[in-house]
Point group: C2
DNA sequence: ATAATAAGCGGACCGCAGTCCGTTTAGAAT
DNA sequence: ATTCTAAACGGACTGCGGTCCGCTTATTAT
């Protein structure tokens, strides 16, 4: 399902999960989606979730590891879809277009993603620089930007430059611009376009 | 003392703090510095601080408002010094040099700042997008970058562009590169130089 | 000196994320 | 069907940041 397996599911040799575990997982995911829908991401507590799903608290943490892990799980379908699009999808986001256009499209797609899932994404990164910067999806985005920079001929430490560009697209930061400062998404997109266009000029 | 008054001190008409309050503030700051020195920022808890300073927990929070507030207070001298340097100090960091050189110097200074105070700065921004992005010093850095961009002739939404550049210099992010990935500070500086140089080319 | 008062104080208390460990149970082996 | 065992479970417990509120005390006015 996800291109990068975010949670438990099924590495290879491992036997399938027990039936009660599967049932509880479904109950938990359903309850989590309901709670997020009716109260907002930030108001959902792990106790609340355990209670609503009618399981013990230990079960919640066994399943998701942490609050951030729960949020990642809730995001994983959207995340997988996003990954599919920029890896296999049609240009300009997917392969086929020149790198500058792909970069621009990548930024625009991220902005839309943050508009829709920003709160979840923020909660999925909270309380751990490790999760924030080295979670598999983040590393993948980073590598993708780095690859596009290389393709565009930017050979001076593209890894760090990709980190800088990634910082611009950070969910918390963009969310803050959008919500706290009322910046229009189109303006964010225009600024991103301007930024990468200038960066890649004459390479 | 600080150019931007970070904590309580003395707005104008307010009478000076009571003597016992002053004494407790000194005790708290001394205890906080000691604890940070001997156990590291992340290991210092508010209870621990209250206990070491021999005051009640309520007093700690009355003084600093939150853990982040405490860390900001511990940073305020270094922060004021940094502000002085890029506002009034000698070029290329201070006024007098061309904007590109000032930008480069600003990034370099921030990198040194993070090397020295990164953990404190990270802790000062934790648990609140509000504090992270709209704290007075952050706003000041942002304005400074924006001003330099304008001076350099970059007139397409310099406010948002400054936000992007600021994101690159974010303490948590740089700290993560430095510590978790072992990136040398000189490499960070070189990447920053490359980034802003390309951005300001042909303006 | 005494009284009045507001700032300051302390620590019990709360909510939340995350852990621990004794108990239950699904599913395999016989 | 019975036994076995490892996975799963549940909820009491811990640690931390942060709040609340009744008590204390420095300071000012009389």
């Amino acid at each position: 399902m996800s291109l990068i397996p975010i949670r438990p599911g099924s590495p290879f040799g491992t036997q399938p999960e027990r039936s009660d575990a599967a049932r509880n997982r479904e109950r938990l995911l359903q309850a989590a989606r309901d709670l997020v829908a009716e109260r907002g991401v930030d108001a959902v507590t792990m106790d609340m979730l355990a209670c609503r799903a009618d399981v013990g608290k230990g079960t919640v943490f066994r399943r998701f590891g942490s609050r951030a892990g729960l949020m990642m799980t809730l995001l994983s379908d959207a995340e997988a879809e996003f990954q599919r699009e920029f890896i296999f999808g049609p240009p300009p986001l997917g392969p086929g277009a020149p790198p500058l256009e792909r970069l621009i499209a990548f930024g625009e797609a991220r902005i839309k993603y943050v508009e829709e899932y920003g709160e979840l994404a923020r909660a999925a990164a909270e309380h751990s620089p490790q999760n924030r910067h080295d979670a598999p999806p983040v590393v993948l985005w980073h590598r993708h930007i780095e690859m596009l920079l290389r393709e565009a001929g930017l050979d001076r430490d593209p890894w760090l430059l990709a980190l800088s560009l990634g910082a611009t697209l950070d969910p918390e930061r963009m969310l803050h611009s959008l919500r706290a400062h009322g910046v229009a998404p189109e303006r964010l997109a225009a600024s991103w376009r301007e930024l990468v266009t200038r960066l890649l000029k004459d390479c």
